[in-house]
């Protein structure tokens, strides 16, 4: 029992329309932590739409947050295109090897039909089931990995970033192949009734320059976002790490909401793009949500709110990235509770709160 007066969908709708709400929307981005909620192994979720939906719905009901995202790891599409993924029994899957080891094979990478991938079909199934379970109440999105990031999983990140400078045409060709697959997967996600939620970590300025972002990440993100907008859905774009040099590009690509991590500053983002996009973030997922105390969580939430609650296009309290699997439930509860404590409209946050972090 959350004690909230509004349902998530109702709250978000009212917030967007500038009507009164009970509290700010809040999304601790729960991924494989959902396995802990129903007591199954992390690897069981990945290839089982029914179980993945059950876990995500249970997590949503347990914590009462404002958006469900069907996500287990970043690698589904790349795996369907030939990347090797390792799935430890009870931890998040990770990339073992890219699809090709020799760059001469780069032309052998072809678009695939995502519906022929068992894994992606299970994720689509999970989206459908989750939507069926909660559609009246809360938004459900399906995670979609960005083209540049998928390209890195296919040829290896170091290879890809070298190629951006040495063989730009080959990178564009690869990104186009990936985009073709991504568009098909996006379409399949839209058919379930969910909105794709985009994540493109490898296009972060922690890795590549804003110039390379503009050339290799932007056009493909924009194509995807245009396509999703064409189906009447808003798009959240998440990029990890340093993003301040590319916020404007992210907004130019058409994103409706930028999800930024704790390497980025919400106040600065508000000043730069707050009149164009909604912001979400950026409670530190590891240092605070995983390792901090409930009081650390509370202080981090208050700091985020004080920085971004007056963002012209709105603000969603969120973790800076997907939560680590073993994030204590108490910290997720503390995050929700801190947002309820702040309430709405946000009147004042003691500035002393900020100094303690």
């Amino acid at each position: 029992m959350t004690g909230d007066l509004m349902k998530p969908a109702e709250r978000l709708q009212a917030y967007s329309e500038g009507r009164p709400i009970d509290r700010l929307p809040c999304v601790p981005i729960v991924g494989n932590t959902a396995a802990r909620v129903i007591g199954v192994k992390v690897s069981e979720l990945r290839n089982d739409g029914r179980l993945l939906a059950r876990a995500q719905v249970a997590a949503y009901k347990r914590f009462g947050y404002d958006g469900i995202r069907i996500f287990t790891d970043l690698y589904g599409q790349a795996e369907a295109m030939g990347a090797k993924v390792r799935c430890p029994l009870d931890e998040t899957a990770y990339l073992e090897n890219p699809a090709i080891s020799n760059l001469d094979q780069i032309d052998s990478i072809r678009p695939i039909d995502p519906l022929k991938s068992g894994l992606l079909r299970q994720h689509l199934d999970a989206m459908e089931r989750t939507l069926e379970a909660v559609s009246e109440e809360a938004p459900v999105t399906g995670a979609l990995t960005g083209p540049f990031t998928n390209a890195s999983f296919l040829v290896g990140t170091e290879n890809l970033v070298r190629l951006t400078l040495k063989r730009p045409k080959a990178v564009h060709r690869l990104c186009r192949v990936v985009l073709e697959t991504s568009l098909q997967y996006a379409e399949a996600i839209l058919k379930t009734g969910c909105a794709p939620s985009l994540t493109d970590p490898m296009s972060s300025a922690t890795l590549i320059s804003p110039g390379l972002f503009r050339e290799f990440a932007f056009p493909y993100l924009k194509s995807l976002i245009d396509f999703i907008h064409g189906h009447g859905k808003a798009v959240t774009l998440h990029i990890c790490g340093k993003t301040h040099p590319v916020w404007e590009f992210m907004a130019d690509a058409g994103a409706d909401c930028l999800s930024i991590d704790n390497d980025a500053n919400l106040s600065a983002a508000k000043a730069k793009v707050g009149n164009r996009v909604r912001l979400m973030g950026n409670v530190p997922p590891a240092a605070v949500m995983l390792q901090g105390s409930t009081e650390d969580v509370r202080m981090a939430v208050r700091k985020c709110v004080s920085q971004a609650h007056d963002n012209p296009r709105g603000y969603i309290v969120a973790s800076g990235c997907s939560l680590p699997t073993e994030t204590p439930f108490a910290n997720i509860d503390a995050m929700m509770e801190a947002v309820r404590e702040v309430g709405y409209p946000v009147t004042e946050i003691d500035p002393a709160d900020e100094d303690t972090l």
């Binding site: 990770y94 170091e158 590891a286």
Partner: protein
């Protein structure tokens, strides 16, 4: 190419590394040998100087990881030509660092960057690669006599591997023999302190400064 003195060779080599120009770096390295210029000096004042400048550009957000990687490709291609001509070393031995990405993680760009900057700063670096078990780090450190074990990860799930390295060192009573430093996306100084590591660095440049402090200078 018309070259008037050694300084000009060094300057042009340094520029070639900064410009990510592997071909010119190779040509100038060969020229340096033809002209009988000391190989050590050519490496130090040409290649390493170029890589240091690239590192500065990275700190200033002029260069990003792709540029740094291509600079290091150029530097290494020059090194491979010049190294056979190095005179037997007379100075103190270099401090050794064993580096790798801990088990359960394959993200290695950050680790590679730290390695490049450590090599550039005169350390001997033994790179174990990625997805490395705690025991392997310690075995290699024992074998090579490395003073520093440098651990990297981008995954919260792999963080406990870092703590495990410290635990094994304690159990083996080797805690004072090898110093453990940690870094990577989810790592913080608070985490480093919690697991009893000897240091944390948020980026490659700070990692070099940290290793210099811990080893009492880079002794090259």
């Amino acid at each position: 190419m018309a070259v008037t003195d050694n300084t000009e060779v060094f300057q042009r080599l340094s520029n070639a590394v900064v410009d990510m120009d592997e071909e010119t770096t190779i040509a100038l390295s060969e020229l340096s040998i033809e002209l009988g210029i000391d190989a050590y000096e050519t490496i130090d004042k040409g290649l390493v100087s170029g890589m240091m400048r690239a590192g500065d550009l990275y700190e200033q957000e002029e260069y990003f990881i792709p540029e740094l990687l291509l600079c290091s490709d150029a530097m290494y291609s020059g090194l491979s030509i010049l190294q056979p001509y190095l005179k037997k070393e007379t100075g103190k031995p270099k401090s050794r660092v064993v580096i790798g990405v801990v088990e359960g993680d394959t993200h290695d760009i950050g680790k590679n960057l730290v390695k490049i900057m450590l090599v550039t700063s005169g350390f001997e670096v033994i790179d174990l690669g990625h997805d490395i078990s705690p025991r392997s780090f310690i075995d290699e450190a024992n074998r090579s006599g490395a003073q520093i074990i440098a651990l990297s990860t981008l995954m919260t799930t792999a963080m406990d591997g870092m703590a495990e390295v410290v635990r094994i060192l304690e159990k083996d009573k080797k805690r004072n023999v090898h110093l453990v430093i940690v870094g990577g996306g989810p790592i913080s100084s608070a985490f480093a302190k919690k697991i009893g590591a000897d240091g944390y660095a948020p980026n490659a440049s700070d990692a070099v400064r940290l290793v210099k402090v811990l080893t009492g200078g880079n002794q090259k």
